[in-house]
Symmetry: C2
């Protein structure tokens, strides 16, 4: 099974032992640190039984690469452990097509794996390289730093809200929103470019307000952000000014599944960040400021503090 | 949840970022390679719903350390991803007690984790250090090398066979057999000591004949082994000569869950291996010879080739 689906060639020069032994062996290159992360995706919780296996293969790796991007790391290696309800050869072949395509794009080599029978569960460990000491953590935000996010937020949550008939949007927009939910693009190039620019970073997987709170906690700081500044697609902006503002605000601030980066940077970095946005053709939008008052404050379009922050909507609950 | 159950201190000097960020960051030490392995344990397949969580915590890490031992690697880091049916705080606390106790004994630092709700599933990634180029693989066995195994084989399978009433043994022996099944001891010190001695090694998790075949395939070689030479407890040896020889032979050769090391070494290593066995107070028993004829031959106590090799017994099937 491992032989058939997972063995790859050729191997990178720093892989001494690839997939198929008791362990893979890698030879670290001089002057690099390794960033290592693990994520587990469970059927019924992170994906549905009828999810497209190819898209799922993409997403399973993408959410892990997003973690590496948040550290400023260059993805290098992955290990994939999976439980499957039966030896569903076609399912895993299709899943691996999506996984491999994304891995190939980012030069990720599969160096280890484990498969077993059981309720469907996919667990990926990824390893990336970062110059020694250059990893971007959550702990470096300082008062006065500007909070930025990449791309647009709330697209994936909006796709779910539409699917659940909680809101309606122009049907022509749905495929693009759906793609943001099903096949997120990890911000790898951005993460690498943010080395030396960002004071702190993390990836947005659970929603802006919850995730940003992790940065604030780790940095012992607070932040003030503006709803009006948070970038989103026009359809979501329009919903913010309509009768389903609650759903729209939830999607924007707490929707999750964004897989954009949220990062902080000294105000002097403004021009470098603007140049970077242009280079990458990716909006990098200032949405607020780090303060020395602990806690997260979000102001509405009139500058009034939101009395409470929206919570994540659990569409499996 | 991660904060409560998984955050540890202090960190090793080469851990730049520990648990709690998007990824852990480790700084490789000069002259070392990293051995990396992943294993997934599924409820109903690798353990039962009523398994003692503390023993399971031990075993979950132990089976991974066993993989590192087979490479000759010194365990250093672990990442633990787990799906749990509910936020079963007591269960995970007890599980972590077993996991942590073993981790502490081998100096393993937990550097990453992920928890989610779902059918119970535990996925551990371990990382060990080995001097550059010194990892022991499955591929180095050469004709004339002697095949060895550590400890005794079949103990865990015998415990299961007794539990299933397929065979009976003196009740006084059961706790020790059961402990071999529930709390295997990874052969870490042995694996490290085998650097420069063993030409190939792997850990016995699925049963001797199946696992040894992996070495033969990787080494493009064959082997001839003797049932009479395979070390086992007296109770199992006695059963081999009784009416349930089939069950006993299956436990010995294909029982699985042994977590002993099987290794090959040039005959000139005999004295070094004997000294090592004494140092470690661990039997290291020659059981056969590598040949240039592909395939695995096992001879019975009269020197006759077994017409067929026993297959693993799946006690969950």
């Amino acid at each position: 099974m491992i032989e058939r689906h997972f063995r790859r060639s050729p191997r990178s020069a720093d892989v001494r032992v690839g997939i198929g032994d008791d362990a893979a062996v890698i030879a670290p290159r001089a002057g690099v640190d390794y960033a290592i992360s693990v994520d587990m995706l469970v059927e019924g919780r992170h994906f549905l039984p009828d999810s497209d296996p190819e898209l799922l293969g993409h997403k399973t790796l993408a959410v892990n690469l997003s973690d590496l991007a948040a550290m400023g790391a260059q993805p290098r290696f992955a290990l994939l452990a999976g439980a499957l309800p039966s030896s569903d050869s076609e399912w895993i072949t299709t899943f691996m097509r999506g996984f491999d395509a994304l891995a190939a794009r980012y030069g990720v080599e599969l160096i280890g794996g484990d498969t077993t029978s059981g309720p469907r569960n996919l667990c990926v460990t990824v390893i990336g390289e970062v110059p020694a000491g250059a990893a971007i953590t959550r702990a470096g935000a300082r008062p006065g730093d500007i909070v930025h996010v990449s791309g647009t937020l709330g697209d994936a949550a909006l796709a779910l809200a539409v699917a659940d008939a909680r809101v309606d949007v122009d049907r022509a927009l749905v495929p693009a929103l759906r793609r943001r939910l099903d096949a997120p693009e990890p911000r790898v190039a951005l993460g690498i470019a943010l080395r030396g620019i960002a004071s702190a970073a993390l990836d947005l997987s659970d929603g802006l307000t919850g995730d940003l709170t992790h940065v604030l906690d780790a940095s012992h700081a607070g932040a003030t952000n503006d709803v009006a500044a948070v970038p989103c697609v026009d359809a979501l902006r329009a919903l913010l000014h309509g009768p389903r503002r609650d759903v729209a605000l939830q999607a924007l601030l707490a929707g999750g599944d964004d897989y954009e980066l949220c990062f902080t940077a000294h105000p002097a970095m403004r021009d470098r960040i603007a140049n970077l946005a242009q280079q990458l053709s990716l909006p990098l939008t200032p949405i607020g400021t780090i303060t020395d008052e602990p806690g997260l404050v979000v102001c509405d379009e009139s500058g009034r503090r939101l009395p409470s922050l929206p919570r994540a909507f659990d569409h499996f609950a």
